[in-house]
């Protein structure tokens, strides 16, 4: 089963060793940045940012629950990004319950999600199995987390390969 990491912040050549078929540096849609069809586009919601225009993934800053917006993302066949670096920071700040509540809302409303590492260096990289452990901590099934990094991320990865 191929796995994809759709959010890394540095040039990483050794992704095969960690079990990934590909890893992508995204285009962050902040400060009126435009959609780039050759990259993974991540839109941010919260802290003054609103969702508008095209996007591939949506990152909820601070894991703030907005049910109408989540339903809109599901209807438009978008994906919610569960970034490991954000999750880790929230857990170490004592906000695990907030992230768990956000995860329970995603499960209850059947909103598709994709786990990413959000790594900035080689020491922040996580393999798919390790991300599945973290997903289990938040209330997801390990199989569903792995499926999100394989099947759902594969949809975006195949679009990027076609556009190249």
């Amino acid at each position: 089963m191929p796995f994809y990491d759709l959010h890394i912040n540095f040039d990483w050549d050794g992704f095969c060793e960690e079990g990934y078929s590909a890893a992508y540096i995204p285009n962050l849609l902040l400060n009126s940045a435009k959609y780039d069809s050759s990259k993974v586009n991540i839109a941010f919601v919260g802290a003054g940012n609103n969702l508008s225009g095209r996007y591939d993934l949506v990152n909820f800053i601070d894991f703030r629950v907005d049910v109408p917006l989540l339903s809109k993302i599901r209807d438009k066949r978008g994906y919610v990004e569960m970034c490991f670096s954000d999750i880790r920071q929230h857990i170490l700040d004592g906000k695990l319950e907030k992230v768990q509540f956000f995860s329970s809302v995603l499960k209850a409303y059947k909103i598709p999600y994709i786990f990413t590492s959000g790594a900035s260096d080689i020491y922040s990289i996580k393999s798919p199995k390790e991300l599945a452990f973290v997903g289990e901590l938040l209330g997801f099934n390990q199989k569903d987390v792995l499926r999100s990094m394989s099947e759902f991320a594969g949809v975006i990865a195949s679009r990027l390969e076609k556009s190249r």
């Binding site: 260096d121 020491y123 199995k129 973290v134």
Partner: protein, 116 residues
């Protein structure tokens, strides 16, 4: 008075030595990991850092007993032992572990050292 009657429940006599019943024994899990860091780290340094981090993650009430069985400082590979009851929590804590330029990569886990 029969001394055997004074022993706590769960003990039985096997020849000359007393052994704990299998149903009462603490079941262990062994986790093989690799420590990826800029410079090779000594066992006592990485063991102390990992123990402190696991304590920070799990708190005093649920802090499991974690022991390094073996560790090779040159390639960073090691095996640690923990109880099966806290196995998942220990693995989740190790995934969250990151100290500066050091990362713990989980390789495999098993109930016996032979299978690792």
């Amino acid at each position: 008075m029969n001394l055997l009657e004074l022993l706590p429940a769960g003990w039985k006599k096997a020849g000359e030595c007393m052994v704990i019943k299998k149903s009462v024994r603490i079941k262990k899990r062994y986790v093989k990991f690799r420590c990826i860091s800029e410079e090779p780290l000594q066992q006592r340094v990485i063991e102390a850092n990992m123990r402190n981090f696991i304590l920070r993650c799990m708190g005093f009430l649920h802090n499991p007993y974690v022991k390094f069985v073996r560790y090779d400082a040159e390639n960073g590979e090691g095996v640690l032992k923990c109880s099966a009851r806290h196995f998942k929590s220990v693995l989740q804590s190790l995934v969250l572990f990151k100290e500066g330029k050091c990362r713990v990569k989980l390789l495999s886990s098993s109930g016996t050292l032979k299978k690792l």
